[in-house]
Subunit: 363 residues, 4 copies
């Protein structure tokens, strides 16, 4: 289905970095969900480059909802969000031989589209497309909230600097959702920012990990084969540029454990079935257990760096070198966090709608 994700609730993406606009069409969401434009703006601002930690480029994310909302609520018909591109007067790329930027999709995109794709600023591969995901994601997060489900992500690590683990989930989540740089431990925050600035000073970039938690998901959602909750979330999360790994619950650590250590014992808690630990990250047999969903995402360092790199000239098929001259992000981990929340919301709205129906989504 290419640029479309979801079964019952779908998101269709379009746009290129230097085209007229990027955008998304969100379809299948229940009617009657509040659309709060201020909240969408707030989410977009969390994705936008903001200070010395990001590119000095000042992106405009003025969005307009051109369909699917009436009297401030979703209509149940397709909701199209449009984000015009500004300042896209690119130099004439026509005559310029293309140097494939290492770590970018310049080469793979060229092969895939036979050279017909728009190469300016990454074209359809540009991270800018995630702005459309975030705008749609804000509406999806509101829909989840209306069902009592909340999503939050913190920066678990930048380079070698780690944040503290979650302690009081509810309090931690509330704190994170208000923060521009979503770290729980303020000492770690300082060290992370220093790490980013150090990379920047060396003309380099740095990666990190994000940890996401979902509270309030009912038990019994997901499928045993193929459309497992892990499978669907990973499918969506790997769309986010630079993601190269994902693990649920204790993830890769489980591979080194014994079963007696890894299994989460079932208990009765407040009269309901729960598990004592949550190594499984809230998913058993591909299906939600009612415990918090937990997963961690690995994000590679931004591929654009100002240090000189070996590469090839795609037209000449000859070796050459490249040093990025322009403005670029030394780290995108903190900006990616709200994108992770957004695609998570997309998956959850989709599987909830499958179980409860368009009509049953809001109960």
């Amino acid at each position: 289905m290419k640029n479309i994700f979801g079964n019952a609730v779908t998101l269709t993406l379009f746009g290129e970095s230097h085209g007229a606009a990027i955008g998304a069409v969100l379809d299948g969401l229940a009617p009657g969900i509040e659309v709060d434009e201020e909240y969408i703006k707030g989410q977009l601002s969390l994705r936008r480059p903001q200070d010395a930690l990001s590119t000095p480029r000042r992106e405009q994310d003025e969005f307009s909802i051109v369909s699917g909302v009436y009297n401030g609520k979703t209509t149940g018909t397709p909701l199209c969000i449009l984000i015009p591109n500004r300042d896209t007067k690119s130099a004439d790329y026509g005559e310029i031989a293309i140097k494939c930027r290492p770590g970018h999709a310049d080469y793979t995109g060229f092969v895939k589209y036979g050279g017909f794709n728009d190469p300016r600023g990454g074209g359809h591969f540009s991270g800018r497309i995630t702005a459309a995901i975030v705008a749609a994601g804000a509406i999806l997060l509101s829909a989840l909230k209306a069902r009592g489900i909340t999503v939050a992500t913190h920066i678990a690590s930048i380079g070698s600097v780690c944040d503290r683990d979650f302690s009081d989930l509810l309090a931690d989540m509330r704190e994170l959702n208000g923060k521009a740089f979503a770290v729980l431990d303020s000492a770690a925050e300082e060290k992370m920012k220093a790490e980013i600035l150090a990379a920047k000073a060396e003309g380099d970039s740095i990666g990190g990990t994000l940890e996401t938690v979902v509270l309030g998901m009912p038990a019994g959602v997901g499928e045993p084969w193929f459309d497992t909750v892990e499978g669907l979330l990973s499918h969506a999360i790997f769309s986010i540029p630079a993601v190269k790994g994902i693990e649920f619950g204790k993830g890769f650590s489980l591979a080194g454990m014994r079963g007696s250590e890894a299994n989460d014992p079932f208990i009765i808690s407040d009269g309901k079935i729960a598990t004592e630990t949550n190594n499984a990250g809230g998913i058993l047999g591909g299906i939600t257990s009612g415990m918090p969903i937990l997963f961690k995402t690995a994000i590679k360092p931004t591929p654009t760096i100002s240090r000189e790199q070996k590469t090839v000239d795609i037209k000449a098929e000859a070796e050459t070198t490249l040093a990025a001259a322009g403005r670029h992000d030394p780290c995108i981990v903190h900006r990616a966090r709200v994108v992770v929340d957004s695609v998570t919301a997309l998956v959850l709205c989709d599987i909830l709608t499958q179980k409860y129906g368009t009509d049953g989504f809001l109960k």
Copy 2:
């Protein structure tokens, strides 16, 4: 789409552990692909429990292809493989209160299906369903081979014991595909087997990781958003019971790297564009680069153990304990390896068919 995976090439799964049969319907594969029943048998035998490392249960995997093959070749119409269940005379479960096995889907399945699902031997959640995946996967692997694409997986670790890294990919792959216990380093193999037997002796189980490599994939396959090669592979891989993490190329290690270290420089090699290193695991911007595809999968320890565990009685909603009496696997990592190869083949056949068409699949 629930128990169906794929766009152009689809696999539909069905069956319960103690029902009449399990099976799969494979559709959309090009006509004219050789179907080698001996190869299917060989692949099934790699999944089957074989010695002291596995359950003493002796599963029968006699399969029959009931449609879609004519004169030894795929017809292009749906191919149904049926694997009858033997010895499925289960005790009467009707009156038995169900103790939720920790780490299993007993509880989540009960909630999802409202208690109507077949609970015997895990029912539709049973790892036995993977036999149908492996049988279909054998045909898909043959289809890939006919295009010059090969897949191989080795046991990268069991508990804390690690295999050596790939050195000569072609030679390593050939060696692995003939082995029942797919390890490259024979010293590591002995230690892994000892680790499994130690866990078994203690009434416990152990997890591990699998590393997969794909050679021969052309560049330019996959999609930039949603249907990235990473997204599709992870979606399919997480269907395999007990998988809790996946990473591509250097994966989580990339999160700790600088861009200058992580980026793979482009070079000209044998007159073609390639990369000097392959930290990206053969995928850039969600699209194959023509370099080997590399990914690692984390598998949790088998949840069934004979040691006593805390759990609940689902009918009484009361706490209780459980110690598995029956036969079970102290480790499934080595058995899961051929399942990983199979779902990998499914994803690759699907995206190749999208790019080249049903007619162009075999060129």
Copy 3:
């Protein structure tokens, strides 16, 4: 999606006329629906050739449900129905040049599958595959009944002989669902049978139309664009071999009407909104209105006839003639009726599940 239909509820078909078995996998249906094997047998018997009006071939439709049913009810997991083929010892087709039967898919199938498909008895194109649809359809019709929705079809015409129109829908439907030859007017029935036997006597065949009614569908189901109720029903109905036309409500007659005549006035009936007439066949803007759904299907005469016909030899690409020697149906309209009911049930279960969810299907 090739041999798979549906979004929330899917049906996957497989099998060839002379292969080991045909069958279907039904997925996504709510758990807890009664599966009445006697009812399935009854529906299959309505499709089976029965007397002088059909082929003297005596098909066996012994089916087995190999998964997805437990304690007589659907489990919510994929339900596979298998119908073995008997007496399929075909002559060796290997050396026989193939004469394309006019009106059949011999030629188009040969081109599509590059000659790799199983040509024996029509292979995967065989009308026999509809037995699997009918078996699955019986379960879907039961699911609808559990929601208060009933489907019935009568033979509106055979050749130039017409049945009477519906008068008392409820009474008419009850009568039809018990009948092997589903005609309301017994005088018309005699004439239709005579028409069929006359065609048969002349070594020829005859077509007809079927009219279907659905009672009890709630208003508000379906989509305005693409997945209109008309669009989905027609998509499914055209799968039935020999169907060449479909119309909803007054259908083609509406093309000759004025708006003042065609529009159904809204009224209040028993305190609810209804329409005075039902020219729209219960669907407005692609969405159910709560009025009975009505549509008519055109079925061409069976293409196999014993009269000599001009055709070509596909191997020699030379002109030749053909006269069917074997047993064949002079008419399939009466046998097709239960197939129409079955695919109708598939579409309705699918769209109801989308609206109300898997959990809300049975309310």
Copy 4:
């Protein structure tokens, strides 16, 4: 999939009649296809109301392609076409009780969306959405042309006035594609226009039929079950508002024929396999035969009429009457013709891409 159609090539629709814009996202089409904005304009002008035969409303269909085109050619990434709505200052509908217009989706839409949908001017149900289909369709028709495939539709009838049948297909098609009122016989054209004006004079409306032909489709495209060419075309065609019937080849007439009359004899023509007649409309077993594809579509009279009609007040659930005051079309058959061509092109591009691949589409 709601407002999305297609497997390999997809069209996503969005927009409401009185919202900011309507539009469509076209995805999966091969890169490198010429996008001729003048041709798109021309196609839109054929859909637009033009003279006394249509509503005096002067719609603006200024479109902009905001993504997916670079240097005048498709890039292979999603192509979004946006058509802003002008003059959409609607009266405040907030306080107005809604009278359900007979024959319209006001009532069914209200029930489906629980009253949250935008009711102004038909909202998402508005025929205006077809402008987006036509704009995207123009690109799809160009893509087909690049493969040697042409589509044309004529007005087969308006009310009781019929056009002549096709005689020389190639010449007839060329003639039709240049005409605003697509009739072959100029005498019939005059009578049809008179019929429309007569209906208009009486405050009424009139329906008709459209006949479509496709030349140049290769044999062997389509699927035997579910995704038959008839099934896919009908699915798409019924999306067009007011369509209530479709038939392929001789369609409903086949139901009254004998097999010896209905079957198309195979012959060798110009060294290739063809059929002597084309009663099947170019499709056998759901698959193209290489003969022209032929089908006829029934279109009901425009439901909006100025004559007084009985209806209900949806808020009061009380009976009332309604006479349309505004501007409306006495007939939409001639305007619908280009919409039929467009969705036909969508289906054909989709199934060709499945067979030949994105890479093989342009050979």
